[in-house]
């Protein structure tokens, strides 16, 4: 199968207009030595029906959240995605457009991004948001780049209770930025503000996560204060689902708020594509990475939207740009906007309440040792299973339940614990089943 429209007659007429006798002649500039000279060794072509059968067979080999009761979280969450998200995202005018370089043909996407930027600013308490970053890890690297140039400092502090993948990505980017990365350990599941403050001396920024990777609520205002005391930028990595209930980072002294948008309007999709968000106080607007949409007017004075502050960007500033990003995650950010609009402020609060209520219920119902028992948690918590957690996962999965994330993968001394996540998609009955399953596998 192919998606080509030209007939043999078309080809002949076109070659004649060009003034060559064959398609082969069009490639005359290619030196002989670099030509393939054979067919590509690819599996045979498939028709649409065959493609469907082939991919359905692959999909059937995966245990997804519809076939296995899942308590997995650790950065990606099985929150409900409403039908309106699918409907909007399949509008071809939005789905098959590109970056809105020509605003007169792109007011739909531009206005949607402006509305998205507003929603992110409202959630985070910030003045400016970009049009999206790749995901919740790369926006952390972006924040470091902003902080480096804003402060002239070359150290970045990250709490150990921040998502390990976020920390890994920051460490991968840091050498190119000329940054050194320092990690501050957690104390009993949360970060000590005093210890963080000491590490923050001479730092460009301090990154912490709220709720943190263990699901624990950090003393976020104190962490931000410790960073500010050291004149380092406070960067909060936040869960959008929590922000109907938890204070916005902009309201407790953070300079930048970042996060993973997946839980708000995107399917799990085995880790992507999703959207990362980055928002900041006005002071940093000219150092922001990526696309930003701004309001303006046309000649008759009608309101309209355009890509703005482009002199930050690679297509104008080239090696002096604030980032190399061009293609971002607009469609997924649009999903985020649709989702947040569908819920509204009250709905978002209710989803958060459902998550914490279910998590509190699960803690009690499981009746097991909580690893950070004295801490307040949000939608995730750490529970001891008393055996190698990887074995517990394997045996529970054989019973149709994925009981949680194996924290020992990232933290030493945590081989017998699981990070359990509750979203509003889970029910008390499913929590009963988790409790029974853990009992059955002798956890």
């Amino acid at each position: 199968m192919s998606y080509l429209a030209l007939t043999d007659a078309d080809r002949e007429a076109m070659l004649e207009t060009i003034g060559v006798s064959s398609v082969e002649e069009l490639f005359a500039d290619l030196p002989g030595g670099v030509r393939l000279g054979r067919e590509l060794e690819l599996p045979p072509a498939l028709t649409e029906q065959e493609l469907t059968a082939y991919f359905e067979a692959l999909a059937a080999k995966n245990a997804h959240v519809g076939t296995e009761l899942s308590f997995l979280g650790a950065g990606m969450y099985d929150h409900y995605v409403p039908a309106i998200v699918d409907a909007v995202l399949q509008r071809g005018e939005l789905l098959t457009a590109y970056t809105p370089y020509q605003p007169e043909l792109s007011q739909g996407v531009l206005q949607a991004i402006f509305e998205y930027q507003t929603a992110i600013c409202e959630l985070t308490g910030m003045d400016v948001s970009n049009a999206s970053g790749y995901d919740g890890t790369t926006v952390a690297a972006d924040a470091c780049f902003v902080a480096k140039y804003a402060t002239g400092r070359s150290k970045v502090v990250v709490t150990e209770a921040t998502n390990p993948q976020v920390r890994q990505v920051v460490k991968t980017y840091a050498p190119g930025f000329g940054l050194e990365v320092v990690e501050v350990p957690h104390r009993g599941g949360a970060t000590d503000p005093e210890e963080l403050g000491e590490a923050a001396a001479d730092a460009a920024c301090v990154i912490f996560q709220q709720p943190n990777f263990f699901g624990v609520l950090e003393p976020a205002p104190d962490l931000a204060a410790a960073a500010n005391e050291a004149e380092a930028l406070a960067v909060a990595h936040v869960d959008p689902i929590s922000l109907g209930l938890l204070e916005a980072p902009g309201n407790y002294g953070c300079a930048i708020a970042i996060g993973e948008g997946q839980g708000a309007g995107n399917y799990l999709s085995y880790g992507g594509p999703h959207y990362g968000f980055i928002a900041a106080r006005n002071d940093f607007i000219r150092r922001m990475p990526g696309r930003i949409v701004g309001e303006t007017t046309d000649a008759p004075g009608e309101r309209g939207y355009v890509l703005t502050l482009q002199t930050r960007e690679q297509h104008i500033r080239r090696e002096k740009a604030t980032s190399n990003i061009t293609t971002n995650q607009t469609l997924l950010a649009l999903a985020g906007l649709v989702y947040l609009s569908w819920l509204g402020p009250e709905g978002l609060k209710e989803v958060g309440e459902a998550c914490i209520a279910l998590a509190a219920h699960a803690k009690e119902r499981l009746g097991r040792e909580l690893v950070f028992a004295d801490k307040t948690t949000f939608k995730e918590f750490v529970v001891r299973v008393g055996r190698p957690a990887q074995e517990v996962v394997r045996e529970a999965r054989a019973r149709g339940v994925h009981p949680g994330y194996v924290l020992g993968r990232d933290y030493s001394g945590m081989d017998d614990v699981l990070l359990v996540a509750l979203t509003e998609r889970r029910t008390p009955e499913e929590i009963d089943r988790l409790a029974r399953t853990l009992d059955e596998v002798g956890a």
Binding site: D29, L40, A59, G108, Y134, G272, G294, Q329, T376
Partner: protein, 502 residues
């Protein structure tokens, strides 16, 4: 059109989560939100109308011809959307035990194999999120490779052609390298003489798009590769224009050591109004140890992750990359199979046909057959009639077309960069060519028609300078300014003549 926030009414709503008969624990006072976020409050019917109206104010490939140069705006097969939405893919948690994700991992493995064959290189990492992140990842791999050889301090320079996308120099800076620009010769190839003077033992590598952003295949590519390899430097291929050469010439066979592939261009992931993309990189075997972790490996009949790669640069993105993009791109490639070269042949034929029809009405800076795209200049129109590339672009909208990329590449003044892609029918190309010829005629006869374009769109030509001077980048509710009361801002060339596209 009103914003969602202007249509909002307190207390109105659409969705809600299921009600639970469970107590909600109190949050500590100091962490609890004081004021709710001012998210929109609308009922679902009005939300659906709002987003439908937004879509009607937008133009995609589904709407019409979209020859945005270097962006490869080809048809997006609908079956790919259906496949990516299969619950086994869409609802799969990325922390699922690999034993419960064999279908997904097998798909990734197959995509790696297929991309390896198409690029002619040995090992693939699917992780980078987009082309520009692929570039950065490739440069990080380069840096790690030279550090491992003890040449990390010595090799500080990356050579980039003056025709390169802005992402190339920006990636060079982000990777901690220094930029060495190199010129283009009168035939549109990289200037080999200029190159010889700039490449030495301090050079880490070259970044090149081939065919270039001029739509021209570099005739001296073997010689260029030899210049770099002779001093121990590496060759990086920006895959933005891979659509021209699939199954015809492979970057690995041209002498490149690292390639990124734009899955959203060549392999038809819908562009989504600006993303998502996918930017896998393929590398020669000596660079494989430095690729991001985890590697997806085949272990007997099954697939799994390999984190034990001590020389790896680390992670550049969460998990294994934008998996939903992989589903669509593999489906696109599997539809063609070994006949993928027919795709590139049609792309090149379509471009040359348009070029043949337009070359007399506009200036052609490099008089050669083109590959999958070509660059014209509107300079004669500007000189003779005061009409710019921007005016031509806006007037094309009146004819129902999306404009080409303009003001890029930078070395061509008043550039119009046209990439029709392989999926367009001859009639569409003819209608576009007729419009471009009519516009060239109008430029002479009625230049005002171009300068005042577009007509009858949702908005007229927008004041980009005002948007910069007054940076209103979010809705401000009661404090939202009324920009219509402020006069027109004076034109600033830097903004107006910024590249639009590519």
């Amino acid at each position: 059109m009103k914003l969602l926030y202007e249509k909002s009414h307190p207390g109105r709503r659409a969705g809600r989560p299921p009600r639970l008969d469970l107590p909600v624990p109190e949050l500590p006072n100091e962490l609890r939100r004081a004021e709710p976020p001012r998210l929109p409050e609308l009922a679902e019917p009005d939300l659906v109308r709002h987003f439908t109206e937004l879509s009607r104010r937008n133009f995609g490939i589904d709407t019409g011809f979209y020859p945005l140069g270097s962006c490869t705006m080809k048809h997006n097969p609908r079956v790919n959307e259906r496949l990516a939405a299969l619950p086994g893919f869409r609802d799969l948690h990325p922390h699922q035990d690999p034993a419960g994700a064999q279908g997904a991992l097998g798909l990734c493995w197959e995509l790696q194999e297929v991309l390896s064959e198409i690029t002619g290189l040995d090992a693939v990492s699917l992780q980078p999120a987009a082309g520009s992140q692929g570039e950065l990842t490739g440069l990080m791999v380069m840096r790690a490779y030279f550090a491992d050889k003890g040449e990390g301090e010595q090799r500080r320079k990356i050579v980039v052609a003056d025709t390169a996308h802005g992402t190339n120099p920006a990636s060079v800076t982000m990777a901690g390298y220094e930029l060495t620009p190199v010129k283009t010769d009168p035939r549109g190839n990289i200037d080999v003489e200029d190159l010889r003077e700039k490449v030495d033992e301090h050079t880490a590598g070259l970044m090149l798009t081939n065919p270039s952003t001029l739509g021209l295949f570099d005739e001296h590519i073997a010689e260029v590769a030899a210049i770099f390899h002779d001093v121990g430097a590496l060759m990086y291929y920006d895959g933005a224009n891979l659509n021209a050469v699939c199954g015809i010439s492979r970057p690995g066979d041209m002498g490149f050591d690292i390639v990124h592939i734009n899955l959203h261009k060549t392999f038809s992931q819908p562009h989504g109004g600006g993303g998502p993309g996918g930017g896998p990189i393929a590398v020669a075997s000596r660079l494989e140890p430095f690729l991001p972790v985890p590697a997806i490996v085949r272990d007997g009949e099954g697939y799994g992750f390999d984190y034990d790669r001590p020389k790896s640069i680390g992670k550049v993105r969460g998990f294994i990359g934008p998996f939903g993009v992989f589903v669509r791109s593999l489906a696109f490639i599997r539809a063609y199979g070994p006949q993928l070269r027919k795709m590139s042949e049609a792309a090149v034929l379509n471009a040359n046909y348009l070029l043949a029809r337009l070359r007399d009405a506009y200036e052609l800076p490099f008089d050669r057959l083109c590959m999958h795209e070509f660059v014209l200049s509107a300079r004669p129109l500007k000189r003779e009639h005061g009409v710019t590339a921007l005016d031509v672009a806006k007037r094309l909208m009146d004819y129902g077309f999306h404009p080409p990329t303009i003001y890029f590449p930078l070395l061509v003044p008043e550039a119009l960069m046209i990439e029709p892609t392989e999926t367009e029918a001859k009639e569409t190309l003819d209608e576009f060519a007729d419009a471009m010829l009519a516009i060239a005629h109008e430029a002479a006869e009625e230049p005002e028609l171009l300068k005042s374009a577009p007509h009858g769109r949702a908005v007229g030509r927008l004041d980009e300078v005002k948007a910069v001077k007054k940076a209103v980048v979010r809705y401000l509710f009661d404090e939202h300014p009324d920009l219509s009361t402020e006069g027109e801002s004076r034109s600033e060339t830097a903004v107006v003549e910024a590249p639009k596209g590519a």
